[in-house]
Amino acid sequence: MALRRYLLSIPIFAFIFIVQESVVTQLRVPFGGFSLLLIFTLIWAAMSTPEIGALTGFGAGILMDLSQSSPGPMGHWTLVLILAGYTVAFLGYGDDNIRANPINIVFITTIGVVASQFVFLLLGLLLGQEIGSTSHILFLLAGSAFWTAIISPLLLKVISFTHSNVFGTRSLL
């Protein structure tokens, strides 16, 4: 049952991936921009069980690895997002004080995005990638946090509505 519902979310993520690749990457917004798919995945995971969060991270990670802009090997983002999805879901699961509060979800998502990117960088460093200067990395991470804090509240209602329809649960938001 849960797997069937999980499969239902695949076209949604595929759509977000296409939007990310064809629209968001073309915008060239300042401060490094943002990853719509990453934000979407973490918000989605924050509303799910840890298993679904991990599975969501797995699917979204695969998509992010397929992205042209992904510098790492296939599986790099997958590994990071499995951990991120599971962690974000784990933090919020069973505590309605967190899951029912939009501010908490935005906060968790923002921290999750920055942490995911940081882990991605560390993993890339271990895999022998060039990561650039520290100041540039800090600038990009700050920019990513800024954009996530801006974008997340705008997407929250839509994602909550879609999530509740896919998984047949009542939206808490």
């Binding site: 296409i18 629209v23 073309q26 917004v29 991990a54 599975l55 797995f58 690895d65 296939m74 069973g94």
Partner: protein
């Protein structure tokens, strides 16, 4: 209640992590399937990306303008300055091209006549307030130019060196009212004297009153002793009208100079007399009239039709019309 997880959940996480590590390993080992999947995805996404790029272009430009407000202004200023620079360079290039064309034609002419020449640029036009027609050139005695040397352009005679200085020379133009030159008509070899009139037209006075001169006859320089001040054979101009008034002592004709004195850029000073008289070799070829397409329009009040034909046609006698008019270009 805090989620504690169960064995099935833990197993799922482990399987997913192992899968991702497996993917990383495969990719780092260069397995072709992984690259193929990535390439396939990109191939499929490219048209969508192009569409997206087209769709978000105005928005992207707006963001770019907002974020690069200061830089955009600087860039505009920089581009403006660069544009001015390029425009100036283009103008200089046009001038250089025109001078090159003039130089080429003057060297062609000098080469045909076997004149030894020194090329020079016209650096100034003489003042017209003194009622003389002169130009200054940027070559003088240091280049072998001395007084009374013939000056030609690509079209023919320009004038004669009146004064030579170290690095410049003053040239009296053929249009100068004080200018006189012995000429002969190409072909018939009739001789006369051509004098400048202050314009592009001179007056020819034939020495033999019994000979006939025609419109279109070309005048060449007769030449002086040792080629100074005039070398033989230099083309001068063309007869444009003939004065055949009865009772005149000598026949006169109006001559239009080949050289256009107002557009002189590069000229050549003949510094050495040719070994042989080029005779009529420098007569410029007659210009070929290019056929112009003519358009004849017939209009009649009853039909109000118009027809176009590529050649002049006469109105048909079978269709007379009182308001018939024709215009030919």
């Amino acid at each position: 209640m805090r989620y504690g997880g169960d064995n099935r959940g833990r197993l799922l996480i482990i399987v997913l992590i192992v899968t991702s590590l497996f993917l990383i390993t495969l990719d780092l080992r260069g397995v072709g399937v992984i690259d193929g999947v990535r390439t396939g995805t990109q191939t499929a996404l490219t048209p969508v990306q192009k569409l997206g790029s087209w769709a978000v272009k105005p928005f992207r430009n707006f963001i770019s303008d907002v974020t690069h407000l200061g830089r955009t202004q600087n860039q505009i200023n920089k581009l403006k300055a660069e544009n001015e620079k390029l425009r100036s360079r283009l103008q200089n290039r046009k001038i250089a091209d025109a001078q090159l064309t003039q130089l080429k034609s003057v060297l062609d002419l000098a080469g045909t006549a076997e004149y030894k020449v020194v090329s020079a640029r016209v650096i100034s036009q003489g003042s017209s307030t003194s009622f003389t027609q002169t130009v200054s050139i940027d070559a003088g005695t240091s280049s072998g130019i001395t007084q009374n040397m013939t000056v030609i352009s690509g079209f023919g005679l320009v004038g004669v060196v009146k004064a030579a200085y170290a690095n410049s020379a003053l040239v009296q133009l053929a249009s100068d009212p004080a200018f006189r030159i012995g000429v002969r008509i190409a072909g018939t070899q009739q001789i006369g004297i051509l004098s400048g009139q202050g314009t592009r037209k001179g007056v020819l006075q034939l020495l033999d009153n019994t000979t006939q001169v025609k419109v279109g006859d070309v005048l060449l320089a007769r030449g002086s002793q040792n080629g100074r001040p005039f070398v033989p054979g230099a083309p001068i101009g063309e007869v444009t009208s003939v004065d055949n008034s009865p009772g005149a002592v000598s026949q006169t004709a109006e001559v239009k100079f080949f050289a256009n004195f107002s557009t002189l850029g590069v000229v050549a000073v003949v510094v050495s007399n040719p070994k042989s008289d080029p005779r009529d070799a420098l007569v410029p070829p007659k210009p070929r009239p290019t056929p112009l397409p003519t358009v004849t329009v017939y209009a009649s009040p009853d039909t109000a039709t118009a027809s176009q034909s590529p050649s002049p046609t006469k109105p048909s006698p079978t269709k007379p019309s009182p308001s018939k008019s024709s215009a030919t270009r």
